[in-house]
């Protein structure tokens, strides 16, 4: 069998987002802009990954910075650091840490989808030769990255991997699958450049970036959907998955 995650749940249980129930209503999120970079990381991240999941080989992370101009809580930006993994046979991005630009978005994302999100400042700028993002928190820059030399690609060339968050529901730790839909209007790819990354600010203390893989940016209509699947974080997902709806 493939390797599994080795996260000791007890080490982070106290800080997990709490959800009252799994009856989250969907959010429609039109005209979103998504900047995504992927980067290989040094071995050793399995201790960050719940035991239900398999690590990607080689281990890698994605940085996803999204601008949502319209949402039920108004415009907001969201930055995520995700450790890429497998839930059984399916690729998934386990959300290690996240920052959102508005307090109402922070509250909703934590309570409704279990994002381990905290407030911060996010900028996302398009230049002629790059698309750059910066995330600041408590006066410090904790992430600065860019897609360099964008070239237009077909929306079909992009693949967005569903996310997984680790939350507490009714007092018990659960993995929540967050599986948005995407209707792409425009897409580009380019070189990935991460000029600053403070792992500790993203619950990713052991993540050491090694080889940049790729970067993409898109404009799309997307959503944050109703929750469909939850998983026991300590049991392989082929046995520990429950369909909610």
């Amino acid at each position: 069998m493939p390797l599994f995650g080795e996260l000791e749940l007890g080490t982070i249980a106290g800080g997990l987002p709490a959800m009252r129930d799994l009856d989250t209503e969907a959010w429609e999120l039109p005209k979103a802009e998504i900047l995504q970079l992927s980067c290989e990381v040094a071995d050793g991240t399995r201790v960050l990954l719940p035991r239900a999941l398999h690590p990607a080989i080689p281990e890698y992370v994605t940085f996803v910075v999204t601008r949502y101009p319209e949402s039920p809580v108004g415009s907001f930006d969201l930055a995520q650091v995700r450790l890429m993994a497998r839930a059984g046979v399916h690729p998934r991005g386990y959300v290690l840490g996240a920052v959102a630009s508005s307090p109402s978005a922070v509250g909703a994302l934590r309570e409704r989808w279990g994002y381990p999100v905290v407030p911060g400042e996010i900028t996302l700028r398009r230049y002629h030769d790059r698309v750059a993002a910066m995330v600041r928190r408590d006066g410090r820059t904790i992430l600065e990255l860019a897609l360099v030399d964008p070239e237009i690609v077909s929306g079909g060339d992009l693949q967005y991997i569903h996310g997984v968050t680790l939350v507490r529901v009714d007092g018990a730790a659960q993995l929540i699958q967050v599986d948005p839909h995407y209707t792409l209007h425009q897409a580009s790819r380019g070189r990935a450049d991460v000029s600053r990354f403070e792992p500790g600010a993203w619950n990713a203390a052991l993540v050491e970036l090694t080889t940049p893989i790729s970067a993409s940016v898109s404009t799309c209509d997307t959503d944050l959907p109703r929750i469909r699947f939850v998983m026991d974080p300590e049991t392989p997902v082929v046995r520990g998955t429950r369909k909610v709806r």
């Binding site: 069998m1 493939p2 080989i57 497998r86 690729p91 690609v153 693949q159 790729s214 993409s216």
Partner: protein, 361 residues
């Protein structure tokens, strides 16, 4: 219809000093038996860094060992990666020629370009140009095998005029194939007059269409070699047992192991947006087979898991689709004990093979 064996050489964790050796030894024993039983071919992949899924980075060595312990069975590269960072084309021509000589003209050469980020990045190869380099390689190989002197100046490699030695034993040269996982690659094979070496477990209706289009297209081909190889080969699982239920249970376990391990790979498309890899190829289908409607008690449509009658029926359907060869994965991650694998091969040869080719192997 001809039958063969197909090897990924998967090695389950925990890895010990002996575990890889056991997998290779078992595979060689299976190949030796398959040769005696009348199987026609054995194929070995070239994969790198794919933990557990495939520990077979040097098919030429494994196939040489196969050739040395057998008399008739053909030995196929399934495939050799035609990307310069992986293999220099001169070395491909030389290695295949040496094996063709050692085996007495039993080599088949499958070509391909790798589909995983894990492998391509491991060799620092760009996914954007693998199809172009593959195209350049397959157009050169036949001339390298057959011309007394060869020189070339291309986008991916060049060489001054030299004699590439030795020459292949088969005349004019070994049959050439293309690995087909993504829909559409069979047409690349057809356009070049190359055999379609299917590596997916596609279902009948889909394969019907793809094979028909391949057959139509290859009529119009400009062959890269000195002859057209218009054969269609496909891959399948094989576990044959007198009791259908036992065979299905054991075979299904093997197939699940394979699908599960395959799904752990990082496909190019998962992480690197590129026109060169327009679809995920093999992986989505394997994921469906592992978790979708096929993952029920029934074997997936067309899988060769069951008693002799059931397997014969499945193969007759493949034959009707136009498949010329079926290559079998007979074990994955050693999930089936070696004695049972050998028994399955014997039963297949005794009860199923006679239903094809007028009873002649």
């Amino acid at each position: 219809m001809k039958f063969g064996l197909f090897y990924e050489l998967s090695v389950p964790r925990p890895w010990t000093r002996e575990s890889e050796r056991t997998v290779y030894d078992n595979a060689l024993e299976q190949v030796r038996l398959a040769d005696e039983l009348g199987f026609d071919q054995v194929w070995a992949v070239e994969h790198h860094f794919l933990e557990e899924y495939s520990h077979c980075p040097a098919p030429e060595l494994f196939l040489t060992a196969c050739a040395m312990v057998t008399k008739r069975i053909r030995v196929g590269f399934g495939i050799v990666v035609c990307v310069p960072e992986f293999n220099h084309p001169i070395k491909i021509a030389e290695r295949t020629a040496v094996l063709d000589i050692l085996s007495g003209g039993r080599v088949e050469v499958g070509t391909g370009r790798s589909a995983t980020w894990t492998e391509l990045a491991g060799f620092n190869a760009s996914p954007d140009v693998t199809k172009k380099s593959w195209d350049e390689f397959v157009r050169c190989l036949p001339r390298m095998w057959t011309s007394e002197k060869f020189e070339f100046e291309g986008e991916f490699w060049s060489m001054p005029r030299r004699t590439i030695l030795p020459k292949v034993y088969q005349r004019p040269h070994p049959p050439m194939w293309v690995a087909v996982t993504s829909p559409g690659t069979e047409l690349d094979a057809a356009d070049r007059g190359l055999g379609s070496l299917g590596l997916t477990f596609g279902q009948f209706a889909e394969q019907d269409k793809r094979i028909a289009e391949y057959r139509r297209r290859i009529q119009l081909c400009e062959p890269v070699g000195e002859f057209v190889n218009d054969q269609v080969s496909t891959v399948n699982f094989l576990y044959c047992h007198e009791d259908d239920a036992v065979a299905l249970k054991t075979g299904r376990q093997m197939a699940n192991h394979f699908n599960y391990l395959a799904a752990q790979l990082i496909s190019v498309r998962e992480t690197y947006p590129s026109k060169s890899y327009p679809s995920l190829g093999l992986l989505p289908q394997l994921r469906r087979q592992a978790t979708g409607p096929d993952a029920s008690e029934q074997a997936g449509e067309g899988l060769c898991l069951g008693g002799p009658e059931r397997i014969t029926r499945a193969l007759k359907r493949w034959e009707a689709c136009g498949v010329d060869r079926v290559n079998f994965l007979v074990n994955t991650a050693e999930s089936i004990p070696q004695a049972e694998v050998l028994a399955s091969l014997r039963l297949f040869a005794r009860e199923v093979m006679p239903a094809f080719n007028g009873g002649k192997s």
